[in-house]
């Protein structure tokens, strides 16, 4: 009897340790959770090995995670209860590839509905301040603050326009980056994924390129150079696409080459992206001295934007009009002015 009770008390203590691990995991204290789950997994309690493997993959401890995952599967737990680091990267890269061709839209809902409309400049200012903290004191010093910031601003995507989506995407990008710097690559990836989706919604190619570059650097850090290369390549495509976003035109010939390729990749419903690319092509041809081709693309841009209401597109068309005027391309100037005559 006493032996039976002694074992019982021990088992109860192991279960309490498991529950402490659960609480720590919920609170985001993953290292503490791993310590607790390791005890419970070693005692073969419930699904502790599954949960330990999951936490360890999130922490980037792939070798130990794989060990516990093997034991869990041998114990009869379904293999796919745990996503390995390799699978997580694979899923991220598939998502990124869809982003590049312009596919995904939101596939999640914020934890709570938006209460009030927040001032975008305040969101951006807070993200910038947190980024400075990260640069000076490291990701561990500010990751939880960044995560709270993201949670607070994310509901705004329900109300928002492209500018809001970009602001929230930047917050997610920083959350991913600080998670990585805190040794939690598995926490970083979902943030990077959302940053990409939001940046795509906002058609912000530069931000897409930036997120992919950061993800690639993280993969390199975790010794996955092949996956890093894929992320960099996708980021390179996005960076090329981002030629459309430039106010100044530093290198018209390169921009023309890259824009001409990319213009063919937009689907019919990507009206804004196409209009912006056509405008950028017109501007770059103009900058390269080819007024005729610039006029053709300018006209196509105006036609493409006929049903579009976008401040970003209007800005770009105005820049084109200013530049056309300076170059003496009066037909093009007139063509663009008809849009604004109609739009007011």
């Amino acid at each position: 009897m006493s032996e039976l009770l002694r074992e019982f008390e021990f088992d109860e203590e192991v279960e309490r340790t498991y529950r402490a691990g659960e609480a720590a995991e919920r609170a985001g204290r993953l290292r503490e959770a791993a310590v607790c789950f390791r005890v419970a997994a070693d005692q073969q309690l419930g699904d502790a090995a599954v949960r330990l493997a999951r936490v360890l993959f999130t922490l980037g401890e792939a070798t130990e995670a794989a060990h516990w995952h093997r034991l869990a599967v041998a114990d009869g737990f379904a293999e796919d209860l745990v996503e390995s680091d390799v699978q997580a990267r694979q899923r991220f890269l598939e998502h990124a590839a869809r982003i590049i061709v312009g596919a995904p839209t939101f596939d999640w809902l914020p934890a709570s509905p938006p209460v009030v409309r927040m001032d975008i400049q305040r969101i951006q200012a807070r993200t910038r301040a947190l980024r400075s903290l990260d640069q000076r004191y490291g990701g561990m010093a500010c990751h939880s603050a960044v995560a709270k910031h993201v949670a607070a601003v994310e509901p705004q995507i329900m109300l928002g326009d492209a500018e809001t989506w970009t602001a929230v995407a930047e917050a997610h990008e920083l959350a991913g980056w600080t998670a990585f710097d805190s040794g939690m690559p598995g926490v970083a990836l979902p943030h990077f994924e959302r940053a990409l989706t939001l940046a795509r919604q906002a058609e912000d190619e530069e931000l897409i390129a930036s997120v992919l570059t950061r993800a690639g650097r993280m993969f390199l850090h975790h010794n996955a150079p092949e996956d890093a290369l894929k992320a960099f390549q996708l980021g390179f495509v996005a960076a090329h696409n981002s030629w459309t976003d430039h106010r100044t035109l530093p290198d018209p010939q390169t921009a023309i080459t890259s824009l001409t390729t990319n213009i063919e990749t937009y689907r019919a419903e990507q009206v804004r992206a196409r209009a912006i690319a056509l405008t950028a092509l017109a501007r770059n041809h103009l900058a390269a001295g080819d007024v005729d081709t610039a006029s053709v693309f300018g006209a196509r841009a105006v036609a493409a934007a006929a049903t579009l209401r976008s401040a970003r597109v209007d800005d770009q068309l105005r820049w084109l009009a200013e530049e056309a005027r300076a170059a003496g391309a009066s037909a093009l100037v007139e063509h663009i002015s008809t849009r604004f005559a109609r739009c007011v």
Binding site: D11, E15, Q44, G46, D47, D75
Partner: protein
């Protein structure tokens, strides 16, 4: 160890709980001798802890948790982790009573699927309760329940549930 407080309803609980625990463990392991020992040990512990246990929402679920833990320990120690029993012939299945056929089919499930399906279908426990008894997450219970049921349907020849 102090002797627990006399009874306070334990005898009645024992009478209703023992058959439930025994029946459930039998679905998990075919070894009736071990099942009886384990069920009694679990209730012995319950008696020792009766002061706390009787105030629980569902003392029976607590006893089952302890019993399943004991059974698994015994199986580990005797290197007999819940065997997948040999597939009986169709004739054999036809001859036995329907309940026994279900039990026999249950024991052909992999051990983790078997536990979840047994608690759900023999005792009608909801997912949250199964998770608490087996000390696993609810998502694990749902995954294993879906797959265990599919496996069971296949074994029982395509009928639902």
């Amino acid at each position: 160890m102090s002797t627990p407080e006399p009874d306070q309803g334990f005898a009645e609980f024992f009478r209703t709980c023992l058959p439930v625990v025994t029946r459930t463990l039998t679905a998990l392991s075919g070894d009736t001798r071990v099942v009886e020992d384990v069920a009694q040990d679990a209730l012995l512990i319950a008696r020792h802890r009766w002061g706390d246990v009787r105030s629980y929402d569902k003392p029976e679920a607590w006893v089952l948790k302890v019993a399943i833990r004991l059974l698994r320990r015994w199986q580990r120690q005797h290197r007999q982790e819940t065997p997948l029993v040999a597939v009986p012939t169709a004739d054999a299945v036809d001859r036995v009573h329907e309940v026994e056929a279900v039990h026999s089919a249950l024991r052909r499930l992999s051990p983790r699927h078997r536990e979840v399906v047994a608690l759900h279908h023999l005792l009608g426990y909801p997912v949250s309760e199964i998770a608490a008894v087996l000390v696993v997450s609810e998502s694990t219970v749902r995954t294993h329940l879906t797959r265990g049921r599919a496996e069971l349907r296949r074994i029982l020849g395509g009928s639902d549930e």
